[in-house]
């Protein structure tokens, strides 16, 4: 059925052996670390006042994007959120072009016209981050319709948060994707906050339970455990590729950074306890996975090589982006219409 069978083997299905598993694990680790280091640097740049606009960092949630996107290739589609850098990088987007975009430069992935909330690379199936909470759900549903009509076993994934789960379009998508049996994976990253409101204060019941009345498969994953996300997403994606319809995944994780990096400049009161943040930091998805890899007797040298490799990649991306030219003013008037 699918012409991406090979890729799915590459990404490590259940049949992967021991040696294969360590390769997969290192790949997952590397991708999470890339997101983390890119985002940490971005936080520093924002603090220094060197960014033109706001950024919403993905720090703490890396396991979700990486665990899901590891099963996808360029022919599959994702639609993302305002907190979209992690999805962009996990799906194979170019780090340099992403940072240049956040810097508003001509070499940015969108020529500097979209910025942080709109990083997209259609050639890699990245339908874009989105400034509208829940805005990617309908788009991914349409891409899933296209995938179904094409008949090549492609899938579409909508990433959204617990905030996005309260948009009516989620109900609409659960309903239609069930009726049409679309190859759609709805991935809710429950990070504990709808902007500044704790999830429990604005969200009734369990988000994953919203799948049940529609007859849609629902699954929870530990959003701080990349292997758990990888397993749950792999099952959902395989089902979708086989034509067995949509899945709603609720990945429970935590936003260790603010809603937006500049929030300290305008919020006069705290909306959460430091102790809560620290407790979740102790469950950091990357540190805990590194510890696990060491337990699995993955060579410390191999791990260190990955770390220095990623650091070099991040340094190179920021250096190139910082030197990139601004777009010509004429560009503001181009590409409204095809």
């Amino acid at each position: 059925m699918s012409d991406s069978t090979e890729d799915r083997q590459r990404s490590g299905g259940s049949s992967t052996g021991r040696a294969g598993a360590s390769d997969v694990h290192l790949r997952l680790y590397r991708r999470m670390l890339l997101i983390r280091l890119m985002e940490e640097r971005l936080g520093e740049v924002q603090k220094a006042g060197d960014l033109p606009g706001p950024v919403h960092l993905y720090i703490g949630q890396e396991a979700v994007a990486v665990g899901v996107c590891d099963h996808l290739d360029d022919r599959d589609w994702i639609a993302s959120t305002h907190r979209g850098h992690g999805h962009f990088l996990a799906k194979g987007g170019d780090p340099t072009a992403m940072i240049a975009e956040v810097f508003g430069r001509a070499s940015g992935i969108c020529g500097g016209k979209g910025g942080s909330m709109h990083v997209a690379d259609f050639s890699r199936g990245i339908l874009g981050a989105n400034g509208i909470v829940g805005g990617g759900i309908g788009i991914a549903t349409g891409a899933a319709l296209a995938a179904q009509l094409d008949g090549h076993g492609r899938v579409a994934v909508a990433f959204f948060g617990d905030g996005g789960a309260n948009q009516g379009v989620l109900m609409e998508s659960l309903n239609l994707s069930a009726i049409w049996k679309l190859p759609l994976i709805l991935v809710c990253e429950n990070n504990g906050f709808s902007e500044f409101s704790p999830t429990a204060t604005v969200t009734a019941g369990e988000i994953v339970a919203r799948a049940r009345p529609f007859g849609v498969a629902g699954a929870t994953a530990n959003g701080n455990d990349v292997l758990d996300v990888h397993r749950v997403a792999g099952e959902a994606i395989d089902r979708a590729r086989r034509g067995e319809g949509p899945t709603l995944i609720e990945a429970r994780t935590y936003r260790t950074r603010g809603h937006v990096e500049t929030e300290h400049t305008f919020l006069s009161t705290k909306y959460r306890d430091d102790a809560e943040v620290e407790a979740w930091k102790a469950l950091d998805p990357i540190a805990s996975f590194a510890a696990r890899l060491t337990d699995e007797a993955i060579d410390r040298e191999r791990l260190d090589a990955v770390i220095s490799d990623v650091r070099a990649e991040v340094d190179a991306a920021y250096a190139a982006a910082a030197q990139a030219p601004w777009p010509a003013v004429d560009e503001a008037y181009r590409n409204m219409f095809a």
């Binding site: 690379d121 891409a143 181009r334």
Partner: protein, 327 residues
Amino acid sequence: MARKRTIQAINDAIAIEMERDPRVILFGEDVEISLFGDTKGLRERFGPNRVRNTPISEQLMTGAAVGAAAAGYRVICHMMYGNFVYTGFDAIANQAAKLRYMTNGQVKLPIVFMAVMGGGRSAAAQHSDSIHPVIMNLGGIKVAVPGSPADAKGLLAASVRDDNPVMFLQVAGRGGESGEVPDGEYVLPLGEAQIKRAGSDLTIVAIGSMVRPAMRVAGELANEGISVEVLDPRTLVPLDEDAIVASVRKTGRLVVVDEARQRCSAGSEIVALAMERCFDALRAPAARVNVANIAMPYSPPLEKAVIPDEARIATVVRQTLGVPATS
């Protein structure tokens, strides 16, 4: 050529486009049974994959149109009534209108959002809006407002073939009017106005539903020796500004007739255009004939009173010409 109603002309155009391009798909509420008749028989002809009923979920329909178009399909998304576009507005205003620009041209979004608009059927305020001004201001959506069956056919074909989102707004309550429609493939360019009737004393720019009454007024005034030119822009985005300016330069007078509410209507835009580009040619202030800034009433005498009719158009034309009423 054959005599057809607007709804049949549109049905023809959709069928021809679906026949020639297998990537054209159609979905919307009740498109299988077809409330208006414009999508009738298409499910039987093109199958359940390409022609699909959706639930009454406008947010999702418009969003899915964007996603399916981004993933390579040409999507016709039937919104039924213009007012229902508001329910699905996020994906139109924030996604379809912006995605290409925000991503610096990475994506083409060939989507036709189609809807019936306008009053005159006692459908009341939530089924009678003329929504084109709202869409005109979004920036990234083309707007087609055909005023005849032939134009409906030609503009719909062009809208499906266009690589951009197009809002196709049909005046098709009760099947729309009848007129001669070319057989087979018939494609009009988007952005080309048509002089429906040539004249020398005054230009009426008439939009969508207002073309027919404007033509009747022009015919009646001709009996009094008044020569009215009727120009139908046919699309509002892009707007054939040159044709409007050329007509106003020729006649020296402008009246815009538009069923939208007057505030920020297409008429507002066209009058401003005349001020900017041919003020020197105007021999009288340009005028607008619109629905007042109210919601559309239900009761027939009220609705009849607020929608511009031939008498109101003729009155404004006479005022602009400085000619007293005959009766």
